[in-house]
């Protein structure tokens, strides 16, 4: 702890420069775009109705329905429209009724706060990376400067992250479409900030919020414990953070139970996420797969797909990337975004905005161009084939499925590429860029 502080004091020169002004400018510009789209353009309802933006899990229309049913004395969990926990519903009721702001303002504000938190998260992370660089500099091989972060990187990365979050079309659509993923992203960014600031109790509380909203966040418990273990070099903190997460989560569930005595919300929220009864298309893989699945194999494949999205890669990745918890979190978030049952563009927007943290790896990634092209094409083609299928009856479900497949492939390429380049960089940092063994040409292979 003391060592870190000293480091911060002595090496703080890259952060001295005032970048808050730029952040404020970015936030204002992004808010202006969102403000225009929500209040002055006619696209808001169009965007909110789009399946890429609103899934059954996060549609604001369903929250409104739930709040309305609740207000006229019908249990909103008796029906099939609401898939938010009672605590979230209570939260939405609070922010829509008690704050005295219009819905649009609330979503913009939350998005801006999320961006600010991501900015702070990146700063923390860059600081951690900086310390690591300074500590391990002696053991690095020679002539590997190109693999290292420059001070410029350190200074710019937080702004890049904030800008990517604020200006990438996925998050803009997500915010303008009024999805509850905006709040999820907010909680997730607070969680990340608290995690990297080593405030483990609060951090586990926010992770419990995230988990109660989207079940898949439960996998982030592992990086949290890992980080606690690393930072304090002891089991106590790790176990403490795990237990406090469990306690927080149970408390949230208990509050949910108090708000909905019938407990039908458990089936309507978590059962819904896990068993995928609503096969409305989204940008993920589940919908068409389980539309076309044979009934007697359905359960088998639901188990295997859910395991694939959650714990299949959890242990191997945690073992491999235990040194860099933030990278581990990014990879896990990415994988769950690709493979979760009801993904939306808001999830994609958040993980994409974490990418500038790994800017130093971009030069070595091999499929950048391919990934970019697929991203752009699927972004444009998705709504087009959807329109052809649903409105003009001239295409069918396969077209849209093709687009979501391509999108999934692009995301898979992106995450595997980054991880691959990362381990290659690790190798090069310590062993140099050797390409010859005993005078013969040599190549790096995974074995």
């Amino acid at each position: 702890m003391t060592k870190d502080k000293r480091n911060y004091q002595t090496c703080s020169s890259p952060w001295v420069k005032c970048i808050y002004g730029r952040l404020a400018f970015l936030c204002l510009a992004a808010a202006a775009i969102r403000y225009w789209l929500i209040f002055f353009s006619k696209y808001q309802s169009l965007i909110a109705d789009h399946i890429e933006v609103s899934t059954p899990l996060n549609a604001w229309k369903r929250v409104k329905e739930g709040l309305y049913l609740f207000s006229i004395g019908i249990n909103p969990y008796y029906g099939d429209m609401l898939h938010e926990t009672p605590t979230s519903l209570f939260f939405y009721q609070f922010i829509t009724e008690s704050l005295g702001l219009s819905t649009g303002h609330i979503f913009i504000i939350f998005d801006i706060i999320t961006a600010t938190f991501l900015f702070l998260v990146t700063r923390q992370y860059m600081f951690m990376v900086y310390i690591e660089r300074e500590e391990n500099k002696s053991s690095y091989s020679k002539n590997i400067e190109e693999y290292l972060y420059t001070n410029e990187n350190f200074r710019r990365a937080p702004l890049y992250v904030a800008a990517t979050f604020l200006f990438n079309p996925y998050t803009i659509l997500n915010c303008v479409g009024f999805t509850t993923t905006v709040f999820f992203n907010f909680f997730l960014s607070v969680f990340l900030y608290l995690l990297l600031s080593r405030k483990f109790f609060l951090c586990s509380l926010f992770l419990a919020f995230c988990t109660s909203m989207s079940f898949y966040s439960i996998i982030l418990v592992v990086p949290m414990c890992l980080h606690a273990y690393k930072q304090f070099n002891g089991n106590f903190r790790a176990i403490f953070s795990m237990i406090s997460f469990l306690v927080n989560f149970l408390v949230i569930m208990f509050i949910g139970h108090l708000l909905d005595k019938t407990d039908s919300f458990l089936e309507n929220v978590y059962g819904f996420i896990i068993t995928v009864p609503d096969l409305k298309p989204n940008i993920g893989l589940f919908w068409y797969f389980f539309t076309e699945m044979f009934d007697h194999f359905r359960e088998l494949f639901i188990y295997s797909f859910q395991i694939n999205a959650t714990i299949l890669y959890l242990i191997p990745l945690a073992l491999k990337f235990h040194n860099d918890v933030f990278l581990l979190i990014t990879a896990l978030l990415y994988i769950s975004t690709i493979f979760k049952s009801y993904p939306c563009v808001g999830d994609v927007g958040l993980v994409l905005s974490l990418l500038p943290c790994y800017k130093h790896l971009f030069n070595y990634s091999q499929q950048q161009f391919l990934i970019l092209v697929i991203y752009i094409i699927s972004f444009c083609l998705g709504p087009i084939v959807w329109h052809l299928w649903i409105y003009s009856n001239s295409a069918n479900a396969n077209f849209y499925f093709g687009v979501t497949l391509a999108f999934a492939v692009a995301q898979i390429f992106l995450v595997t590429d980054i991880l691959f380049v990362h381990i290659k960089r690790e190798f090069c940092l310590y062993f140099g860029k050797k390409s010859r063994i005993g005078g013969k040409e040599a190549i790096l292979v995974l074995e």
């Binding site: 329905e65 797969f289 076309e292 890669y313 191997p316 479900a397 492939v409 381990i423 190549i443 995974l446």
Partner: protein, 566 residues
């Protein structure tokens, strides 16, 4: 001496039997024919059996009551049962109100007695049995498409128990897709005492009655009081057939029983206590016609502010074969008919297969406001947003007096929406609600998936203050005869709207294997690299410069060398 003894014994047994079997069965058959407007004629058959029964053991003795129905009532603890099988839509706006309201397709509702243990089980079994009895698809009724409306239905006969009606003993279901045909009529006719061989039932030739614009079979079972103090109860079975003939399909305006049914009344049913044909001749004043057969009597009915004239034919009295009919004296004039007091239409709004709206338009033509109950029974494959429910009357929003909503659930329960609303005088109320289409699993689509999915008709219940265009029976009446001069404080109509078809978005049904393979491939695409990254480590390896072409060259060189050596 011995023979006298025998006779005495037989006589004694006979007396004893007579004493035991005190139940009496009364069977009446009636036919009401009413010209609706210049080119449609409504004919309604009404067969009524009243049976004074003990409270149990229905299956024991009955003279004319169908034994199978008695067994059914006893076995499933049924208090009331109403079934209708209908083809076509009753046009309330032009035709007024029928004697018995029925929605397109199959419709069934039943009240169970209060001591019933498992209503759901009884309901399921009852519908299955009725499915076999009437050759209809009632076996497709289960808890997913059954509702228990709270305001719309009341028991029509006597019911024991407290004053309040508990709607949990009511089960209602409708099958809008049901196609009604001969196969339903034949078993239905078999329930008649004279089995459609004699009497009015013999007119029901399937070859003729399915040519109509609208036909509806009905079967209504209830309990009624035998007298005002209700000391005894009768079990009453009403079997009805409603038909609307179109003069355009008949080829001429003049009609007769011969034209309608291919034959006149040949003889009378011996078991019937009365057998009567009524013809509504009120329209004679505006559209004069001549009866082709001399009637047995005239009836003037003053009911709820409207005066109607009828002629009566007694089938038993007329004895042999006869046919009644009407010859019009003048050419048809464009009749100005004022539309009915209340009527409704249902339609879909929106386009595409993503979001849509369901709209019911209720028109009130009365000079004062009307309180109506709207019941909508909406399938789960439409995901309803109740917060979008809007009731507007010429642009202004109307608040429902009462609203009952049971939200549906995917694959398990229909939405049930009941709204009590007061519609202002001379206005049109528009009730709309938005929904999302559901994407089903590929095996849940019917074989003709693009035919579409049906939405049952909405039911609008209203107590009309006037009996204009109203032909229904009063609640205490059992026969058409009872509806003459039967002025009451209100006249209950239950209007059914159109059924609708929605086409849900469909997947490609030929794709299951491809989709499973492709999606799994994508999963594998992630698994491969991630497996490599996490389980393997980097090492430097001497590059093997020889690629395939080099290898081939070397092999070729070697082989050439060998051949050269030879």
């Amino acid at each position: 001496m011995e023979s006298t003894m025998h006779y005495a014994l037989i006589f004694f047994v006979f007396i004893l039997l007579k004493l035991c079997v005190t139940q009496e069965d009364i069977f009446t058959e009636e036919l009401l024919i009413k010209p609706l407007n210049t080119d449609t004629v409504y004919s309604h058959f009404h067969f009524t059996i009243k049976w004074e029964t003990p409270d149990s053991d229905f299956s024991s003795h009955s003279k004319v009551f169908p034994r199978i129905l008695g067994e059914l009532i006893e076995r499933f603890n049924v208090l009331e049962l109403h079934i209708s099988l209908t083809n076509g839509l009753w046009r309330y706006e032009k035709w007024g109100y029928p004697v018995v309201n029925a929605g397109p397709g199959g419709e069934i509702w039943s009240w169970f007695k209060e001591n019933t243990i498992s209503i759901d089980k009884n309901w399921k079994e009852l519908t299955s049995v009725l499915s076999g009895l009437l050759c209809a698809s009632f076996n497709f009724i289960d808890e997913t498409n059954t509702i228990s409306p709270e305001f719309s239905f009341r028991p029509q006969g006597v019911f024991d128990g407290s004053q309040s009606v508990n709607s949990s003993y009511l089960k209602y279901a409708s099958l809008p897709r049901e196609i009604v045909c001969t196969e339903n009529l034949t078993p239905w006719k078999k329930l008649l005492p004279c089995n459609a061989k004699t009497g009015l039932g013999s007119l029901l030739n399937s070859g003729y009655i399915h040519n109509t614009k609208y036909h509806s079979l009905g079967l209504h079972l209830r309990r009624i009081c035998s007298d005002k103090l209700c000391t005894k109860t009768y079990l009453e079975l009403q079997q009805t057939v409603s038909l609307v003939y179109d003069s355009k399909t008949l080829g001429a305006r003049n009609w007769s029983l011969m034209k309608f049914f291919g034959q006149g009344v040949l003889n009378s049913c011996e078991l019937a206590n009365s057998s009567t044909i009524y013809i509504d001749i009120t329209s004679n004043s505006s559209n004069p016609f001549r009866l082709t057969y001399k009637p047995d009597g005239f009836i003037t009915s003053i009911r709820g502010g409207s005066v109607r004239e009828f002629v009566k034919y007694d089938v038993v009295k007329n004895g042999g074969a006869f046919s009644v009919g009407v010859d019009y004296l003048t050419k048809p004039e464009i009749a100005i008919t004022s539309p009915s007091l209340i009527y409704a239409h249902q339609y879909l709004s929106g386009y595409g297969k993503e979001n849509g709206g369901l709209v019911v338009k209720i028109t009130n033509n009365h000079w004062s406001h009307l309180d109506v109950v709207l019941l909508q029974n909406i399938p789960w494959y439409l995901q309803l947003y109740l917060h979008t429910l809007k009731i507007t009357v010429s642009g202004k929003e109307l608040k429902p007096i009462k609203l009952k909503f049971i939200p549906g659930k995917l694959r398990t329960r229909y939405h049930q929406l009941e709204i009590l609303v007061r519609i202002p005088a001379k206005s049109i109320a528009r009730v709309s609600v938005n929904f999302d289409y559901t994407f089903l699993k590929w095996q849940e689509y019917p074989p003709d998936a693009n035919h579409g999915f049906y939405i049952p008709s909405a039911i609008i219940s209203c107590h009309l203050p006037l009996a204009r265009d109203f032909t229904g029976l009063p609640q205490d009446g059992t026969m058409i005869r009872d509806s003459f001069n039967a002025s009451r404080s209100g006249y209950l109509v239950q209007i059914r709207t159109e059924t609708l078809i929605v086409t849900l978005p469909t997947p490609d049904f030929s794709m299951p294997y491809n989709v499973i393979c492709l999606a799994c491939t994508v999963v594998a695409l992630a698994f491969g690299p991630l497996h490599n990254i996490t389980t393997k480590r980097f090492i430097l390896k001497v590059k093997d410069n020889q690629n395939i072409i080099d290898k081939v060259k070397r092999i070729l060189k070697l082989s050439f060398k060998k051949s050269g050596d030879k």
